[in-house]
């Protein structure tokens, strides 16, 4: 069970972490290994957070943003997987699949924002000399604010849907799917991918 206040808090805090992906710093606050435990604390189970963080960190380690290539959003994947995991009372399979799909959806929203930015930057080209620096400063503020509120909006729209989905799917015997022992195996996939990546590149 996650309360409305918790949903709101997760949206606000996860959106700050989203800023680290591109618009500010890249200190790696947006990585699953940081996002997982942090959101885990907010929903009252930091252990789930570490679990999800470790599994997703290993899988997403080798996805890198080179040039114009934008990989699926790892922060949105972690947050949505974790929230689904809690809502489904620990169904790992559904939470990971939903998280990955929503991470891919977030990527398309990100691409759309980058396309919109191409139009916004012309604002400086048309500016008179006296206002050029002001407009550049405002554009930087716009970049931060638009990214933040884009993420908040995304989560505020997605969380009620996840809540509805998980409540209803629980009625059709979601519990039939295994969970407990599967957890122990999943880190192996990320370990294998990382070994292969390091050996081949």
């Amino acid at each position: 069970m996650i309360t409305e206040i918790q949903f709101l808090l997760i949206s606000l805090i996860a959106s700050v972490l989203h800023l680290d992906t591109l618009v500010f710093g890249q200190f790696m606050f947006h990585r699953p290994i940081i996002v997982g435990p942090l959101i885990g604390i907010l929903i009252g189970t930091p252990q789930y957070g570490v679990l999800m963080g470790c599994i997703l960190e290993l899988v997403y380690l080798s996805l890198i943003p080179v040039g114009i290539k934008v990989p699926p959003d790892v922060t949105a994947t972690t947050v949505c997987s974790l929230v689904s995991y809690k809502l489904s009372n620990g169904n790992l399979f559904f939470s990971l699949i939903l998280g990955i799909l929503l991470g891919i959806l977030y990527r398309y929203i990100d691409l759309l924002t980058r396309t919109l930015n191409s139009m916004v930057i012309n604002w400086v080209d048309n500016a008179k000399d006296e206002v050029v620096t002001t407009r550049i400063n405002l554009l930087v503020v716009y970049g931060i604010v638009s990214t933040y509120f884009r993420s908040v909006l995304f989560y505020l729209l997605v969380f009620p849907l996840l809540n509805f989905f998980m409540k209803n799917i629980d009625k059709i015997e979601l519990k039939m799917l295994p969970s407990s022992e599967l957890i122990y195996i999943l880190p192996a996939i990320g370990i294998g991918i990382s070994i292969s990546y390091f050996v081949e590149k």
Binding site: Q26, F93, V124, Y142, G143, A188, S194
Partner: protein, 258 residues
Amino acid sequence: MNIPVFFSIFIRSLFLQSVWNYERMQNVGFVFVIIPWLKKIYGVTQKFYERVKTHYGFFNTHPYFANILIGITMRLEEQYAKNEISSEEIVKTKTILAGPIAAIGDRLIWSTWRMFCGIVVVGYFLIHGKNFYNEANISGGVIGYLLLYNFIGHLPIRFFGLYLGYEYSKEVIEKLAKFALQKIVDVIKTAGVVILLFIAFFYSLSLLDNVLLVVLFWSNIIVSIILHSIILHKKLSEIYIFVLLLCINTLLFFIFRL
């Protein structure tokens, strides 16, 4: 160099990608970073606005290593103000160096250092065995990861990149080339593989109370290595492997009621 201006540029460089766009990529961020330097050289004059608009063109490189190029541009702007070089030379230098610097950054940071730090912290958690999420010190692992990544790799590259770019100008690229970066990458990657095997071995020991789990664990490692080697040449995402193996494992657990 003027220390307050240097720090202002360093802090502003954290916003380099704030308005990343498909047309001119990091152009807004680049101009935002370099404004204090242009103001210092030209004051708020017609020349200052001219230079701001010149730098508003296309710019794209690795966000950490960009500071080297920002430092080089600062030095070149000084020379331009003294009429020692032309404006075209500054633009040309930025364009020519952005590609190689991005390649170094992508290889050294995104595909080596970030991966290595990720492996170290995940290793720290997994080494606690199958119930690692209950037993490991969570805050210690998370803070350790951030300190390792940022204070050994990220921030020194940004800080010294800016300083060295300004101090040595274009020569800094030659100095970087002599730095044997490929050897560093190879050493980190070898260490990464050793750590991963070490993690896998000790983690699987904690699964020994159910031998089938140990077999499944190692089978998953081997299958994901094979699948990754195959998709690497097809340029597919690693997520496909994860989803595929997640489905297969769920099915196996369901059938055998594990």
